[in-house]
């Protein structure tokens, strides 16, 4: 039996789809594992009862043409090194399974950054991409009065998406100053595809007030959010609303990379020209290597997929990657967070939502681990995915250590089936 390389791709967003396709086309036996009900990740998340967006279809056709195995609604909760191989432990509907790999491609995407402000724990205060994800998974915002306050290029597309679905988007507030946003908009001229996207959106929410240099000061409500106060630092205005979308950019999902002891610098996984991390046979692409958007995710994914299957680099792909990386860097500068955002929380504001730890309970002289042990901060189910990213901004605290399981898992899954006696080749993507 000839030995085919087994590649496990974790994450089925653009980066994962590109990686799985490239690896499978190169002769590897590929399993792509994704938590969502269908591949697509964040930007290509298909809406219930509809097809993936047009841009995605070409890629999904390409993936479907390969022999790659796709595991949907399946979460990877552990990767264990065993000799020269990896055992990927995943869970689906409460059942565990293990897949053996010669190479791993981490394409775990990004999550939104949430910052604490008074009222942010009220029901119907959601993320910006969060609102879109909820809508695509079936939530109707029809007729709802929505305020979007946060930061980043997601604000306007999400406003447009919700408006098209019948929501009344009252206001979109971008915290970055106009000058920065204008610079970002100007850079769009050099990217026709994105520009078309942006223009197409504008008519959809013509009556929405878009302000820059404006951010959320607080929200109030009872059983759900009822009003939000926005400020530009000089004056404030309060809007009655049904839903508040508040998120401040994206944070790479690096938990699995850190579990494998890959170098993570400034929150992003370090990779070489072939998208290999500092750990041999572990590749990483898309948002975990630094927030870069869909085009960069696709190129990085292809490069990682080829490399994981043992195919050498392509100069053409490398050149495209370089272009997209420059764009990503300018994006990051445009939407840098203003200092006022870091002092929105009052003493009574909850910082850790899982354990209800309030801002006033935290002594800023503590280390992150000390705060955790003394107050239970970050000890809950999300394991600091929300408060950890916030406190990194607020206090400069580094992310907590990562251990198995990288996200909550049934103990049954962790018990698993011991692979110790299995033949190397009998485990696979079946």
């Amino acid at each position: 039996m000839s030995k085919t390389r087994q590649v496990v791709v974790i994450g089925g967003g653009p980066a994962g789809i590109a990686a799985a396709s490239a690896a499978a086309e190169s002769g590897a036996r590929v399993t792509m594992i994704d938590e969502g009900p269908a591949p697509g990740g964040q930007i290509w998340r298909p809406a219930v009862h509809s097809h993936p967006p047009l841009a995605a279809q070409r890629w999904i056709v390409r993936l479907n043409a390969t022999q790659a195995d796709v595991l949907r609604s399946t979460s990877v909760v552990d990767i264990e090194r065993r000799n020269d191989r990896f055992v990927v432990v995943a869970e689906s509907s409460g059942n565990g399974r293990e897949v053996v790999a010669d190479a791993i491609v981490l394409a775990t995407g990004a999550r939104e950054r949430f910052l604490p402000f008074p009222g942010w724990t009220l029901p119907n205060v959601v993320g910006v991409g969060g609102a879109q994800a909820l809508a695509k998974n079936g939530v109707s915002f029809r007729g709802k009065r929505i305020v979007i306050a946060g930061s980043g290029p997601l604000l306007l597309p999400v406003a447009a998406y919700l408006a098209r679905g019948g929501a009344k988007v009252l206001a979109v507030a971008e915290q970055a100053p106009l000058a920065n946003v204008a610079r970002f908009a100007a850079s769009l001229w050099r990217r026709p595809r994105t520009l078309a996207q942006a223009i197409g959106l504008r008519s959809a929410f013509a009556r929405t007030r878009f302000s820059t240099g404006t951010w959320v000061a607080g929200a109030r409500g009872d059983s759900t959010v009822k009003e939000v106060t926005l400020t530009d630092g000089r004056s404030t205005r309060t809007l009655a609303c049904d839903v508040l979308c508040a998120a401040f950019g994206l944070v790479p999902n690096t938990e699995l990379a850190r579990l494998l002891a890959c170098d993570v610098v400034g929150g992003a996984v370090r990779t070489d020209d072939a998208q290999m991390t500092t750990i041999a046979a572990v590749y990483c692409c898309g948002e975990p290597t630094g927030i870069g958007g869909v085009d960069l995710a696709l190129v990085e994914g292809e490069i990682a997929g080829f490399a994981a299957a043992g195919v050498g680099p392509s100069e053409h792909l490398a050149a495209r990657r370089a272009v997209h990386r420059r764009e990503a860097a300018s994006l990051e500068r445009a939407f840098a967070l203003r200092p006022e955002l870091l002092s929105l929380a009052g003493a009574e504001t909850i910082v850790c939502r899982c354990e209800d730890v309030r801002w006033g309970a935290i002594d800023q002289r503590w280390s992150a681990r000390q705060a955790k042990l003394y107050t239970r901060l970050g000890m809950g189910a999300c394991q600091g995915r929300v408060c950890g990213a916030a406190l990194e901004c607020l206090l400069g605290w580094p992310a907590d250590s990562v251990r198995v399981p990288t996200q909550p898992a049934r103990s049954r899954t962790l018990i698993g089936v011991s692979l110790a006696n299995h033949q190397p080749n009998e485990q696979g993507a079946s």
Partner: protein, 84 residues
């Protein structure tokens, strides 16, 4: 909603659209109590993508499942509002 399916939320039957997540089914029925926080606050979905764990509910007697990651199924029992 001719093709609606039924789920049982806190012992009450709810007709919901098939194919949506449990989170969507609840929110579309103005149900905002997903879990109670450790100090008793009501919590509901935030991230919509499995990160924040605010949407945890009990599904078919299995506690602490992310409502935003599970698709509704006919006859599914969902219990909300427990301390999590």
């Amino acid at each position: 909603m001719s093709d609606a399916i039924e789920i049982v939320v806190n012992a009450k039957v709810l007709r919901v659209e098939p194919g949506v997540t449990v989170a969507s089914a609840l929110l579309n029925n103005d149900h905002h109590v997903f879990r109670r926080s450790t100090t008793g606050e009501v919590r509901a979905p935030v991230c919509g993508m499995g990160i924040c764990y605010e949407c945890r509910v009990t599904i078919n007697d299995v506690a602490h499942q992310r409502a935003c990651m599970v698709t509704v199924e006919h006859g599914m029992r969902v219990d909300t509002g427990s301390a999590a």
